[in-house]
């Protein structure tokens, strides 16, 4: 009975969890890779921007992350009782401060600058 439960319920669950964690780490790696390769960088508005317009995979990556970021920012803006814009500007500042050496950040004049 216990064996049966393990085989039919737990095993697929464990496998699924493992696969999901792999997918998640691969995705995170992708973001860090794209940053360190200079394909994408932090803009001053709290969202990721494309440095090299010809890279389609980087574009789909940042579109996805930026969509999720916006949803998260909206929730946090409501919690803090401020407009979305306030959160966006402040997190933009902080993300640019946090950016590692060699990564790109976008200055207020629109120019990308390597840290």
């Amino acid at each position: 009975m216990i064996k049966h439960v393990f085989k039919n319920v737990l095993k697929p669950l464990i496998l699924l969890t493992f696969m999901l964690s792999l997918a998640n780490s691969a995705w995170a790696l992708n973001l860090d890779e794209a940053k360190s390769q200079g394909l994408i960088g932090e803009q001053s508005n709290g969202y990721l921007g494309l440095i090299n317009n010809s890279n389609a995979s980087a574009k789909s990556l940042i579109d996805d992350i930026n969509r999720k970021r916006r949803a998260a920012y909206t929730a946090k803006a409501q919690k803090a009782g401020v407009e979305l814009k306030i959160i966006e500007i402040r997190i933009g500042e902080r993300l640019q401060q946090r950016a590692k050496k060699g990564e790109y950040v976008q200055r207020s004049n629109g120019q990308w600058q390597r840290k």
Binding site: I65, I87, R90
Partner: protein, 55 residues
């Protein structure tokens, strides 16, 4: 003695206080801005720990 008093009182300094015509306004914007920033930064800290995969 009386002469001394007269002489001393003549030397007593007087302070004149000029009362301004406009009411005094205290600018609270700086304090309010600081409080907002503290609140916003706390939410951002939470965001960094909850959704580290987005950053």
């Amino acid at each position: 003695m009386l002469g001394c008093c007269i002489l001393l009182s003549a030397c007593a300094p007087t302070v004149q206080v000029a009362v301004p015509n406009e009411p005094i306004t205290i600018n609270l914007n700086v304090k309010i801005e600081h409080e907002i920033l503290v609140k916003v930064d706390k939410e951002i800290d939470d965001l960094f720990s909850e959704n580290s995969d987005l950053f």
